[in-house]
Amino acid sequence: MNETAVALPRPTGGRILAWLQNYGVYAAIAALVVVNIAITPHFLTVENLRTQLVQVAPVVIVSLGMALVIGTEGVDLSVGSVMALATALLPLYLGYGAGPAILVALLGGVAVGLVNGSLVAFVNVQPIVATLCLFVGGRGLALVLAGGRLKDVHDVTLLNLGSSSVAGVPLPVVVAGALTLVVTGVVRRTTFGRQLVAIGGNRTASVLSGLPVRRVLLLVYVLSGVLAAVAGVLATARLQASDPSSLGLLMELSAITAVVVGGTPLTGGRVRVLGTVAGALLIQLVRATLIKHNLPDSVAQMVQAVIILAAVYAARGGSGR
């Protein structure tokens, strides 16, 4: 924030608050876990842990891409549709085996990313609107490809992606973990990572400093697309069916929430990868708790609203969008 922004009255607090602002999410997770151990039967079991991790894996993967996009002061609403597109493409090419099919699915993600990226980087369309186009059209396209109908998937290799596990850790979780490490590396270690936060922080300055602004933006949206596609593939493998009509519905909101709850401001210029993962976990835990305690939808939704606000309040970075 700039000199005068800091000037605006900001809640300043002691160490605790400062600490909370950095580790709020983790604190919240811890709290929620403790509560659950206390009130939820059969919570502290390996199976349960598995379930939560497996279910959150796709969200985490999408959120990683979303975090990068948000870092550039953008947002990607099309992620849900990308998942649908990926899941729709898979069965079409499973005839050639799982590998090629997955490749095609990922290419679908790349394509969407390219469109979004070009709209944002070259045409200067505002990200929300640019990605809104494919948010609308993408799922439609997926349904066209799938002939509108859900298809069961029988390919063993693909199904294993969803069901098998490495050293007791389910494969989707492994993938999510690996991708988290990669993205962390990208943000921390690569020129690209540094440049993207700079662009988010001050685009004009970045241009004047000779950064390849357009290329970076394009790449960011492509990455987001690919990650969403990966999530789509995993979700399909887990569902053992390709269901483009409902797969990834409202994913964009979950992902954005995860990112922001994780302490990445929507104003861009900063990316917190681990925070994002934590954010996704937090939301997953909340949903799980509400379901396990069999709360009616009405209450569930209101409780979620409150918890999201509380978490963001704790993890509050800069102000703004």
Partner: protein, 332 residues
């Protein structure tokens, strides 16, 4: 593109069209003159069909296909189809647009039973006969609209309950996978089920009910959570087949055997019926989407001045281990 081996996808054809249950509503009473409409020839006139949701699930696909197919067969050239994309406001304006385009008759699959005021006003003003399929419209038959053709969701709930009672022979813990909140179908299938259970089998408790939004993935996720928190649940009532199939995937994932948890669901899609054969689903109550023939028969009768009932309830079949094998082919 080269997809996997053929999928068991049905939908096409008119196999197992609908059978009218001995008209449970009032006797045939509604006539063109009573309705105040004028005679016209469906073959040449513009006839509008307003679908409520995307043709993205077996039910809607079969429904639309059957309407289109039948129209072709009857030689109704002027059929115009719109789709509300699950947005009620859109469906309303869709229908209004159909009227504006000069539709002489309307077949509507309502997304919601209430809120049809503006459409009904315009239609009655022009004496356009409306036939609603699969869901009712809350208004007076033969005045605001002509008649309703469809299943009785409350009954479906009841019959599912009966199957459930058989499955658990009268006692045990049951979980419900609800449809999406605020949806008439959800409400009626739930009420029918609960009331029947309460009446017939006090020994059965419903210990868990969460929405699965009629979607397979959501059904799977909710079931996974349930398996952890309510391990004692012995049966699942899914308010549509998709959620039931999601539940099946979840149970498999949790290492359960076929039949460990009894599943009863509503719809009768081919995938579900297949799962009965393989033993994962106990029974399925059909909700037949092939409205085409019945709808156009009724319409033709009506414009020819013959009386028609103000409510045509179709008799839905039931699939269970006894008949699943041979019925798979005819399921949609």
């Amino acid at each position: 593109a080269k997809s996997e081996k053929d999928q068991p996808t049905g939908g096409g054809g008119a196999q197992a069209g609908q059978v009218v249950q001995s008209p449970s509503g009032s006797a045939p009473s509604c006539t063109l003159s009573k309705f105040g409409g004028t005679k016209f020839d469906p073959k040449t006139a513009v006839v509008g069909f307003s679908q409520s949701e995307k043709e993205a699930n077996p039910f809607r696909i079969a429904e639309t296909q059957s309407i289109k197919a039948e129209a072709k067969q009857e030689g109704i050239a002027g059929l115009r189809v719109t789709n509300g994309q699950s947005q009620f406001s859109k469906q309303i304006s869709d229908v209004q647009q159909l009227i504006a385009q000069g539709a002489k008759a309307l077949v509507i699959a309502p997304l919601n039973s209430d809120g049809w005021e503006p459409v009904l006003q315009q239609a009655t003003a022009k004496h356009i006969p409306i036939i609603t399929v699969d869901r009712k419209i809350n208004a007076t038959a033969c005045k605001d609209y002509v008649t309703f053709i469809g299943s009785d969701f409350y009954q479906q709930g009841k019959r599912a309950a009966d199957q459930m009672i058989k499955a658990l022979n009268g006692k045990g813990k049951v979980a419900i996978l609800l449809g999406s909140s605020g949806n008439n179908v959800t409400t009626e299938r739930t009420n029918g089920f609960k009331e029947e259970i309460a009446k017939q089998a006090p020994g059965i408790q419903i210990t868990f009910e969460q929405t699965g939004d009629f979607a397979r993935e959501k059904g799977q996720q909710v079931t996974e959570q349930m398996i952890q928190s309510h391990p004692d649940v012995g049966a699942i009532y899914a308010e549509n087949d998709e959620m039931a199939l999601g539940a099946v995937t979840a149970l498999k994932g949790a290492g359960k055997k076929a039949g460990d948890v009894k599943i009863v669901s509503v719809d009768g899609t081919r995938n579900a019926v297949t799962q009965i054969v393989s033993g994962w689903i106990y029974a399925v109550v059909e909700s037949n989407p092939r409205f085409g023939p019945l709808a156009f028969q009724t319409l033709t009768k009506f414009v020819n001045g013959e009386p028609i009932p103000d409510k045509v309830i179709i008799s839905d079949r039931e699939y269970d281990s006894s008949n699943a094998e041979q019925s798979v082919a005819s399921a949609y």
